[in-house]
Subunit: 434 residues, 2 copies
Amino acid sequence: MSTSPAQNTPLRLGLAGLGTVGIGVVKIVQDHADVIAARTGRAVQITAVSARDRTRNRDADLSAYAWESDPTALARRDDVDVFVEVMGGHEGAAYDATLAAIAAGKDVVTANKALLAHHGQALALAAESAGRVIRFEAAVAGGIPVIKALTEGLAGNQIRRVMGVMNGTCNYILTRMQSAGLPYETVFEEARQLGYLEADPNLDVGGIDAGHKLSLLAAIAFGTQVAFDAVELEGIGAISIDDIRLAEDMGYKIKLLGVAQMSGRGLEQRMTPCLVPSTSPLGQLVGGTNMVVLEGDRVGQIVMRGAGAGAGPTASAVMGDVIDIARGLRLPTFGQAAATLRTPIPATSATAAAHYLRMTLLDKPGALAKIATALGEAGVSIDQMRQYSHEGSEATVLIVTHKATRADINAAVARFAPTGVMVGAPVVLRIEEV
Amino acid sequence: MSTSPAQNTPLRLGLAGLGTVGIGVVKIVQDHADVIAARTGRAVQITAVSARDRTRNRDADLSAYAWESDPTALARRDDVDVFVEVMGGHEGAAYDATLAAIAAGKDVVTANKALLAHHGQALALAAESAGRVIRFEAAVAGGIPVIKALTEGLAGNQIRRVMGVMNGTCNYILTRMQSAGLPYETVFEEARQLGYLEADPNLDVGGIDAGHKLSLLAAIAFGTQVAFDAVELEGIGAISIDDIRLAEDMGYKIKLLGVAQMSGRGLEQRMTPCLVPSTSPLGQLVGGTNMVVLEGDRVGQIVMRGAGAGAGPTASAVMGDVIDIARGLRLPTFGQAAATLRTPIPATSATAAAHYLRMTLLDKPGALAKIATALGEAGVSIDQMRQYSHEGSEATVLIVTHKATRADINAAVARFAPTGVMVGAPVVLRIEEV
């Protein structure tokens, strides 16, 4: 049906990057040639590949493919229709090669969240003026087809909110701390030894990687230009095993949760540790699995769960995009013409929520009253307050507030130190309604 | 980008059916005209509508639309590009009008699972030879974009298995029985009074509606022609509150679960009550919510959860398909050319699984041994056996088998009656590994 002559010729891929994901792509193309041809009505082939080290043993037969040591040269090859970028990195080679591919009239499929978080608008504009597409399902939540669900399946909705646990390493660390009762530092070291952490671990535990993903979802959801710099980022390094236990006592789990929502005040994008109800799908998510929650004004809440990383899942997402292109399914990078995407007005944590505050107080008469007064003066009212039994001269106090903005919470916290009853700084976590 | 002249003109819908879903579609088209135009680059309009009763008050302004009392006349109108069928029914008007729409060169968007389960192959062939598309996201699992995920997002995978809880009414009944401790008959009557049941309740509780949906997923997943007649159907009417409690004691929940999988023996399609682990996403699903689990050889397990019915969610799915058409995204009905879909070889419950057997035995010496012997003679071995304390001359016995095919289980059950120790027939439920 509706097959133009071009659609009966093979679709030729130039694959830049031969790490686990790249080899995962090679294996799908080789193993599933028949099923892909049945589904697209044409052959999908790799014609050329590129990586840093040609001599490395890669557990796949690459002998039929031309080799380019320079990904930009790969991107410009005449025998390449689609430039598949699974190298990573948002400056230098990946950026240059992607721009070169678009300039040479190639479509682009990328797994590179950092590249798009930093240069998404420029790349989308370039692609659209050249009549080319950039697809990036693999950049967000690995194998979960969430970009497609949001951009296409839910396109009849005003999106209310997008949420997600999109960094498997952080969720592994938090759930392992909980199940094994181990402190953050120990589990962090375990994760490092298991190879779960990026070379720069702050990309994971600092929330940066997940923040990149959130910024891409927000652009699609709200028709706004990617604004990664406006994502409020907070990592999981300050979460203690005490917080995990106290939260659990109250029926919550702590997750590094991304939330994007649009209100009259602007676009709110947060990637921060939050409390979510233990019985919710997000609360039940354990280990390295990812989950994305899409909320539309008509569809209600759609929850999608699956592997957020790994060769197979990520290559599955890459190939979903490649197959779309092979089938002639083409749409703008962020679901609407890049030139029509609005510049978002950032609204940092504008939406009110209950907050969890854990603090250590000196065991003095009136200490608790001083903290309660400070909260009251900042307009924050208290829903629950618990003081835990203690030894020595310090006490752990847990406060759950009624709904308040983060600005009000911060104003209250600023009044804590002058009371002279507080030891260190309080841990402040938002309780997200999910 | 890649906009042909046709894509800058409005896309004109002819809407057949003005029940809750139809009015849901009207409201999205009216309320979200701007966002849809931004996303598609063109206007999406309703030009004409059709329903049985023009005089009914419908809580929407239809005055701008032409009225056709005959959906076939609507389907043929010159000012209609897409025939949107939300009437229901698989014979008569819906079928005739859909064929007429295709013959008149219209694309079709339908929410009608029964129509496609019975006539999917013929309609797909007709549409594809006319160069038209039939889209049916709304026919399966309401607002969950599962057809898109399976057909497009996971197209790089060999699909291993598709599972789903896809009839919200059955899941409501089962979870309400459990939480309230009420018998099936009472909750069934509650559901009827709440308006949750179809006019013919057997469509729900007999598994037919959910079986229709499963047969559509199987066609896409395995590249086979829709084979609803080969779906092994078993409703929930025989599930007692005892079964629910006993299953829960062992860490399971009972769900009306659809499973489709392909093996060397052929295509297995089951829509039957099954036990699933209480801690699994399927086990945790309560109330009328739907869940579909897609398993691919590369992506692993993708779980999607959302509202399976209702005006908003179903209209969201309809509009997702309409917006695809407005964007020029076109693919064959079942993801590959209908002419290439294979005729499936049905393999009824060929995959071995543990089974749950609940039975009532006469309290005679050796009764349990006779049942155990019957199982052994049929080649079925026992994993767990429990006899529950009892009054009078009868005892409840629960057996969990090791993995066995349903044929072997049935052979064993056929040996039970001649033992003379059994009261009534046993309840046999598969324990699905999820």
